[in-house]
Assembly symmetry: C2
Homo-oligomer: 300 residues x 2
Amino acid sequence: MSLVIVGSLAFDTIETPFERRERIIGGSGTYCALAASFFTRPKVVGVVGRDFPRTAIGLLERRKVDLRGLQVKAGKTFHWEGRYGSDPNQRTTVRTDLNVFRDFQPLLPPSYRSADIVFLANIDPGLAGPVLNQLRRRPAIVALDTIRFWIETKPDALFRTLAGVDIFFANDEEVRLLAGEGNLIKAGRRLLGRGPRVLVVKKGEHGALVFTPDFVFGVLAHPCEDVVDPTGAGDSFAGGFLGSLDGAGRRGPAQIRRAAVCGSVVASFAIEDFGVERFKTLTRKEIETRYLGFKRLVSF
Amino acid sequence: MSLVIVGSLAFDTIETPFERRERIIGGSGTYCALAASFFTRPKVVGVVGRDFPRTAIGLLERRKVDLRGLQVKAGKTFHWEGRYGSDPNQRTTVRTDLNVFRDFQPLLPPSYRSADIVFLANIDPGLAGPVLNQLRRRPAIVALDTIRFWIETKPDALFRTLAGVDIFFANDEEVRLLAGEGNLIKAGRRLLGRGPRVLVVKKGEHGALVFTPDFVFGVLAHPCEDVVDPTGAGDSFAGGFLGSLDGAGRRGPAQIRRAAVCGSVVASFAIEDFGVERFKTLTRKEIETRYLGFKRLVSF
């Protein structure tokens, strides 16, 4: 039972219609690790500059995230700036300063190399090989999340990586784009044919759909009245999903269904405050209560 | 146990990216009555011209729909023409010829006047009073569906009608527009404050949300690979919902949840073929099988 997350740790500058926050802590690896930490003890592989604050490291440490794979380099931390309109599903990237993330070479400490689950969180699909080659044996699950940027700039590398992936996370727009098919169900089945055994389609406020060759599972999003900051919702979803799966030990249909609900639950907390703020106070008890709420939400 | 549906019976001309169909049978009342007919024996109030085909009447009769409230007038039947893009949720109205529907004065035969449920399906909100005044007593449930046209042209009449309604059906765009609020959950709660005891938000391929003061219930859409013609999906949803509720007799939370699933199930069949074609062959057995599929889809 171990989950390795390879992703970014970053500063985010975020503007919503109501508020602007400068250089708060973000990054796919950060969100994912914090979300997963409620279900297992994730190990992070990433890189930050010397400007990355001690308090952020402290938060990850308090959540018992293993940071032996975190490199600290001379230079500045990755900085992303984005703006949300009144529809929180629509965001514009204002600026991306890759900084030390530009030449990121993931290096797995020896204690990471027997991982059961390895998650490549929005990183360059070309890095999949170099990461997996460091492992002693193929992990039980290789999971991948991607972003529009890689679909548009490195589609071939992405499809090559996809062929060797067990669980693929993408949002509905990315699934349609990758499959070249407007109907989401058809697009999903088409992507399943490209390699992954499980495709998880994240649909924001509409929840998520899990496709496998044997079943389709749908999970709703928590009916949230106050979306403060949607940043990191998808990463938190993946973190909750994989953390739950890692914590469960077994990986059958029942565990996959519960993993999707855990992903949706944790993501619903993440968006209740800016950045990773909500993870500072979130408790396992709150997660369990909302998990039961998800059951009531769809029971008939 | 009786359900009265006041709505349109029409010719539809429909263009999808794949096919065009001229003057096929449609109308909110038609879809709704056919959908409801799998759960109860609906009574229709509507008007057609002398050009309305005998075969369409025959289909409704075979489905045991009570047509004593159907007026046949000299003149032409309501004709709507619409076009769908590659996204079936986006449609453009090309043409609307109201014809005999322009001066529609709903008249309830004596046998309709003790109805338990009365559904005003997309008709002018100003007609609610004249319909309800014909009843011997207030029905247990007054239900209303509306369209963007009435929201934009008769918002005051719509809100007045809404104040006396028990179940209000609207799609997500209409809910946001009516509430003047972008967050769907907030918008839903706001509309609940304007009168209805139950608000059903139809979200197309994303399913539906049911808001009541006591609970929120979410139902997914059936994962449909081939949306042939989305016309009438919302009307079929409402028909399945109200038909199920009428057939159940009781109207508690459990019946409301099941009604929403029945609505989603019947709507998922309606879009599998053009117009009302699918209702010609649909069986109660197929509905039951898909209903169980909906349970598996969300079970965890």
